[in-house]
Symmetry: C2
Subunit: 454 residues, 2 copies
Amino acid sequence: MLINKSNKENKLNKMFNANSIAIIGASNNPNKTSYQILKNLIDGAYRGKIYPINQKENEILGLKAYSKITDIDGGIDLAVIVIPARLIPETMKEMGEKNVNTAIIISGGFKEIGNYELEKEVVETANKYNISFVGPNCQGINYTYNNLCASWPLITAKGSLCIIAQSGTVAATLGTWAENEGIGATGIVSLGNKTDLNEMDFIDFFLKDENTKVIALNIEGFTNGKKFMEIAKNNKEKDIVVLKPGRTEKGKKVAQSHTKSVSGSDVIFDAACKQAGVIRAYSITELYDYSKALGLLKKPKGNRVMVITSSGGSGILATDIFEENYVEVVDLNPELSQKLKAELPSHCVVSNPLDLTGDTDAYRYEKCVNIANEYDDIDMFLLIFGDPIPNACNVVSSLKEKVSKPIIVCYLGGGEVEKEETLSMHRNGIPVFPAPERAAKAISILSRKCKGSD
Amino acid sequence: MLINKSNKENKLNKMFNANSIAIIGASNNPNKTSYQILKNLIDGAYRGKIYPINQKENEILGLKAYSKITDIDGGIDLAVIVIPARLIPETMKEMGEKNVNTAIIISGGFKEIGNYELEKEVVETANKYNISFVGPNCQGINYTYNNLCASWPLITAKGSLCIIAQSGTVAATLGTWAENEGIGATGIVSLGNKTDLNEMDFIDFFLKDENTKVIALNIEGFTNGKKFMEIAKNNKEKDIVVLKPGRTEKGKKVAQSHTKSVSGSDVIFDAACKQAGVIRAYSITELYDYSKALGLLKKPKGNRVMVITSSGGSGILATDIFEENYVEVVDLNPELSQKLKAELPSHCVVSNPLDLTGDTDAYRYEKCVNIANEYDDIDMFLLIFGDPIPNACNVVSSLKEKVSKPIIVCYLGGGEVEKEETLSMHRNGIPVFPAPERAAKAISILSRKCKGSD
């Protein structure tokens, strides 16, 4: 049976916005993945109905357990399957009887270990019963705006970043960083074997998702690279950042053996990304940093940055990275210099970077940004707080409301004050980086996406 | 008066091992730097005597305050000066009377703002009274093995890493990271204007310090680059990692204006580093990561790594970085493959990277390292824990005792388990990195320092 596009779209909507979930293979053993998923749904304050399914238990984590999915009275929007691989086709039959047609198959034991036969049987059964599924051999999905963490670890912070990853670990890592920093995510998808639903289905979904501003992709081999580039190129609204390993010969060999798919030349992929406006990341850290900046900031008009810092040394470090990445640390307009000098203590170094020196408070930054914001030859600001400077969050949050140019923050060397201010800024949608090189590289990506750069 | 080398050495010893400290300009105002330094000495459990000096207060933070340093009965090993710049020469005279001949001048207001006259006066006074000093315009020093944090933020964790930085912020940042991760430091020095004591004096001291294994340097302009390279080259015991900005034209211009010193060509500096065996870092993160790996690990015999992972995707990401950085992800010896296959579940992918898959526990890693350790064509191990895997610390700590090859860990996507295991491993002297690219780059540095590479 062929599944047409709108059918699939409806099913993805049903999956992410599920009002009821069955955990097939739920367990009372805290060491089992199925226990962890159930617990995360509960701890994540999922508002829909949850039905644990286990033939031996009466109750799991305080919820009534059922022997089979067909024993449940109400309807089920989504089944999460965590049982031995060989039992899955039979379970899918029962899902078909109960008219449950979306699933996440967490269980491994298929193609990835050479078990092609069983994987084929699962596909055939799914087709017969009109079931669309994520995985198998995956780490589940998370949709924070529905409090739905059918995955691990528990991620609940809502944001504007969507993560779609072939590697469950990469998905979990980005999700954890977004959670810990307080910037949050919209959705997190671990693709696994991509036997049925693949990256294109989820990209389609999240391009339409109103909370998502940026899609962070980790793909070892694209299901349909050409189609991906087409969609990326036609998409004018959201940013896509991709981490695709296999750049080196050895890396490519390992990737192909891992995903059982052949991937093309990296040079061609790179050129296609540039043409389609897809940002490439070369590490998990870059994937995260670039997505964070793109997800939280408006686009600058050009590539000219003004750096305002309390730490001269950090300003120099940022300058090198800017220069190496085609961002201009623009010479200050003489009129602007004069205005700044008139407002600042005489020991401040009025230049770009503008060194407010270690005795600065947050309000000195505010004054400078307000003055410099008037000048058209500055496209964006990097504010480096290199000491424990209180009220940074208040000041930058208020600047963010008034100033038309993007503002990126680097906060370091600030001890406990830094921790508090950084978390508050992230919660207010201000991207903060822990080192000048990371802030400067993120800005270089932002400036590549500046208005008029296409 | 000329100060000879052994005199200086004695004074540095007295400074770091001070049994008594006077804080000149101590304050009861929590917003003042002098308050913070006094508090950090107390909170850091400094065991010597502390004398706050303030003309208006009787008591500061529970300690008796003195009007002048000459009012103190006992001897003073070190003075920390945090008073307005213009008052410093007079204070130095009093120090001279009291025979206090080491100081840290935190106060700014000298050369860095064009006040060359006052800086000259301070030098002359110091020479007259045989005083050696750090700074001015600096963030102090910290020597964890003497519980002496005459700086901020408070760093107390003892380790094998020494940090000497021209930028107070870079010093504070590295110190904070080392403290938060639990790897600790030996000393942290913020050089400031380097008017008297400069990087060479501290490098001399820490090359002789028995707890120090690696020196992390952040220098904008070397006082004597040639001498530095000579000493680095003659040093066979410890590693030196240097972050020197000003690589680009603009960066160099900014660095020269910041430090009021002329720095030479970056290409020449780079070649000199290679010749002297100095490792170059290009960002604060690299400076930290490389120093951490070098400080905690023995040197490998060569550049061939075996990767053992629970996350196939992370293994591929590491492979690319290795290949790009001249580390060989060596093909497994057929005999070794056979032995591993005999011991591992059939779904594990026996190759390099060795994919233990998501169902692994820590003991599967132990088994593999014990087997592979016998093979001479493997020089080091990267263990990637890409899931919440308990007991990782126990296993790696016990391997560390038995296995002759260096073991680096990457732990990611492991939620709360990851946090606990990572901290425990750091406390046990095992370097753990939060992303495969950072672990792989640190390994590439380690392998450049492998035995026989000189």
